[in-house]
């Protein structure tokens, strides 16, 4: 099997400010199962990047191992990608982001990759507040090894072969809130209207932007009794807050009733307009986010931009990184030279 290149038929497709069509943001043909939620997320990445008018080569895609991690080949074919080892994408992303904070880092992971083998790295990337978008394509099972439960499997959910999970799940949203993530969202691969603005907001966020996306596995976890199936997700899916992304140059129009919308200026450009959907919920309040998530655990799948704090320092700021990325500093700025070495040697005589 080799990578399949898509035919380019883009004559009549709309172009963005850079004159690029969505085709320019696509990658090679997906090899995932037909109907896989992950492919919808891939399409959402393409749309978000296209709509943001970002140059495709200014992104860097990082992933681990698993079905979800494969998808970084399926979008942004004009940007670098690194498909690393299982569960260790956060460390690769941290090192890459440290030496060039100017790129848009897109981490794609799965529930196996991030919540089992990679739980430690996932947690520590949040602590470091690495400036990246981190998407977990969450389907509750291991796909490539044919359907074992993952750590996000809910209590009572049933595997295809009948086994029932009794262990408590690891919820990436709760983990993100606990560990101090500054952007925590949940979405559903079946709701691009919600997901695309979230991706855009996440890319413009300074620091670690976590989006947990319920992304059903049509082959191993889409049956009756599964809590990660399309049917179950549609049934219990509940957007708790809308997040519209308004780009920098666009005026924030008065669609929003005063007091209802909560505008948050994003560090890397644009504004996120947060709108309640009935509940009295302010996603800028971490305590509220905790309380609501806890209360609705196992009852409703609450989605949207659940928590946002645009004020926190990211890794680059904490490390006092220079204006010029470390990978672009000239030799002269790095090597102190022979006379300085002679000085240093005096301290060892």
């Amino acid at each position: 099997m080799t990578s399949i290149v898509k035919p380019r038929i883009d004559k009549h497709l709309p172009r963005n400010a850079l004159g690029l069509t969505v085709r320019d943001y696509e990658g090679v043909m997906s090899t995932l199962c037909a109907g896989c939620g992950h492919d919808s997320i891939t399409a959402a990445f393409v749309q978000a990047f296209h709509q943001l008018d970002l140059e495709p080569h200014r992104a860097a895609k990082v992933s681990g191992i698993g079905c979800s991690s494969k998808t970084t080949a399926y979008f942004l074919g004009q940007s670098h990608g690194i498909n690393s080892v299982h569960g260790r994408m956060p460390s690769v992303a941290s090192g890459a982001a440290a030496v060039n904070p100017e790129l848009y880092y897109i981490g794609v992971s799965g529930d196996g990759d991030s919540l089992s083998i990679g739980l430690g790295q996932f947690a520590h990337a949040i602590r470091r507040n690495v400036n990246m978008l981190y998407v977990i394509e969450n389907n509750g099972v291991y796909g490539l090894t044919k359907g074992q439960f993952s750590a996000s499997a809910d209590i009572g959910t049933r595997a295809k072969k009948g086994e029932v999970n009794e262990m408590s799940p690891i919820d990436p949203v709760m983990m993100g809130l606990t560990l101090g993530a500054s952007f925590v969202a949940r979405s559903f691969s079946g709701d691009k209207k919600q997901l695309v603005p979230l991706i855009k907001a996440g890319l413009m966020h300074r620091g670690f932007a976590l989006i947990d996306v319920i992304s059903p596995c049509v082959t191993f976890n889409d049956h009756a009794g599964s809590t990660k199936s399309y049917a179950h997700t549609y049934k219990y899916y509940h957007p708790v807050v809308h997040a519209d992304f308004v780009p920098e140059e666009t005026e924030v129009t008065a669609d929003y009733d005063a007091g209802e919308a909560m505008p948050v200026k994003m560090h890397h450009g644009g504004t996120v307009m947060l709108r309640k959907t009935g509940r009295d919920y302010d996603p800028r309040d971490r305590d509220q986010a905790f309380e609501l998530m806890r209360k609705m655990e196992g009852r409703e799948i609450l989605t949207g931009l659940l928590y946002l704090d645009e004020s926190r320092a990211d890794m680059a700021e904490m490390a006092k990184l220079p204006q010029t990325p470390l990978n672009a500093l000239p030799h002269e700025a790095l090597c102190p030279g022979s006379s300085r070495l002679a000085e240093i040697m005096k301290g060892y005589g």
Binding site: S3, V92, N100
Partner: protein, 617 residues
Amino acid sequence: MNVQTSIQTGVGQRDRVNDFVIKIANVNGTGSASANGLLMKTVFRMGVPVVGKNLFPSNIQGLPTWYEIRVTKDGWQARSGDLDFMIAMNPESYAKDVQEVSPGGYLLYDSTWPRPELTSRPDITALGVPLARMCNEAFGNARTRVLMKNMAYVGAAAALLDLDLDIIHGLIGEMFAAKQKLIDANKQAVAIGYDYARAHFDHPLPIRVAPMDATKDCVMIDGNTAAGLACVYAGATFGAWYPITPSTSLMDAFKAFCEQLRVDPETGANNYCIIQAEDELAAAGMAIGAGWNGARAFTPTSGPGISLMSEFIGFAYYGEVPLVLFDIQRVGPSTGMPTRTQQGDIALAAYASHGDTKHIVIFPGDAKECFDLTVAAFDLAERFQTPVFVLSDLDIGMNDWMTPKLTWDDAWRPDRGKVLRAEDLEKVQKFHRYLDVDGDGVPYRTIPGEHPKGAYFTRGSGHTKFGGYTEDSNAYQEVLDRIARKWANAAAFVPKPVTLDAPKATKLAILTVGGCDGAAREAIARLAEEGVCLDYMRVRGFPFGQEVTDFLAAHDTVFVVEQNRDAQLRTLLINETPAKKAQLISVRDYGGMPASPRFIIDGVRAHLHGAAKEAAQ
């Protein structure tokens, strides 16, 4: 027993100026390290070559620790294996310490308490100084008394060994900078010991230090400090690490030098980034991420860290990502003895990770080489787009080595290897990451974010020479074979071996690696005195170059000297050169102590004796 309480000379001790060994036995956590360092530095500043070995426990406070100082007018670099002057300050190890003194040697002890164990050694001279009593009388609080006891034995040793008191005072001044109160207290403590020894013993002893002029262009520096400094000079901007003995001081040094040398004076920004990772796996991943993204990146660790990093090392090997890994080896297997030295990771480094993997390994032999060869390692990593190991060890990394001053060539520029920048990519039709365009096994790479044409996908899964995913046997094999060629080609670029020819032609030789250098050279000199002539080679890079093959071919018997149980260097020679197994005689020492010539002399003698016996039969 021969306890001196009044003026008396040594027992049958011949005059040995500038050629003896001092050892100080202490309890760790009592501040003795600075006193011992001061003793060694005094000898060095008197112009006399010196070797210092800190033998410390994996513990913070309360366990025995020793510091060994070899005063060596001939400039030998190894431990001698003798012990002429023991300063026994630890009651716990006292009985053992008394036994260790070479016949005719001296023992300085704290005579505040009776020491009945002394009766066991009539062949040594015991010099009792009431250190604790005198310090208790002179100083106030408990911690000061403990600390000053150390300086008091320095004073006593100074009187007995004829050390220059002005130099000692100068060093105390440097140590405590502007803290006049501390300077005064320390000088007072030195005087207490000094005056007591002069008043009570014949001085100086037949073993003593006389000024020379042999250290003028030298420094005393440890390998980790030199390597950390080299990372700054080589242009490394990113280091990730997880603390582990004995590599920690490398990152400490890098950090300290960066704070001095890499902070932008105008903006206050750091022209470097250090991340203390959550574990070694993450440290390797971060260095790979940074290397992939175009920075010079490294991670320092020790054997257990390499074990953890192995998966990532294979990824960087197959994905062809440059990075430098420092393995400051300690005693294994498993946790082993974390504060003892060994060369136990040679085979691990050479073939780290699952599947077919072979790496470039650099073996520094002393602190200066930790500097020079680290710079070379960064160039090799980028030239060959692969992980490069710098295999140091605890002895090289953590002990102070007398070495020529580190120097720098301002004409040096980093060898970034084959990188297509944005302007190059404008000119190419299509870029393929893993294509062997030049036929030397090294493809071109690009830096993320620079140009849309440079985009490629780095993967640890099977890939074609164009960078695409594959499960096709031929396409997979083609890339894997090219990487093997690339590795083999590195043999001509790794640091050349160091050699020393015997005064006359010989078919016998010693081949060794790393910190065994000093011991091997001294063994060769001693054996020459017995009429055994040996050529010498110390390898400094893997894959082995033609020089190694030629050297092995030119000798019938090659003693392969190394510090591990399983003869790992010998295994590599058998694996990777045409040498015959039977010609490679293994000589090993793996108890965790820095090498001394003794095991080498014994090993060579035993083999030659056996061979002669066989011939006679």
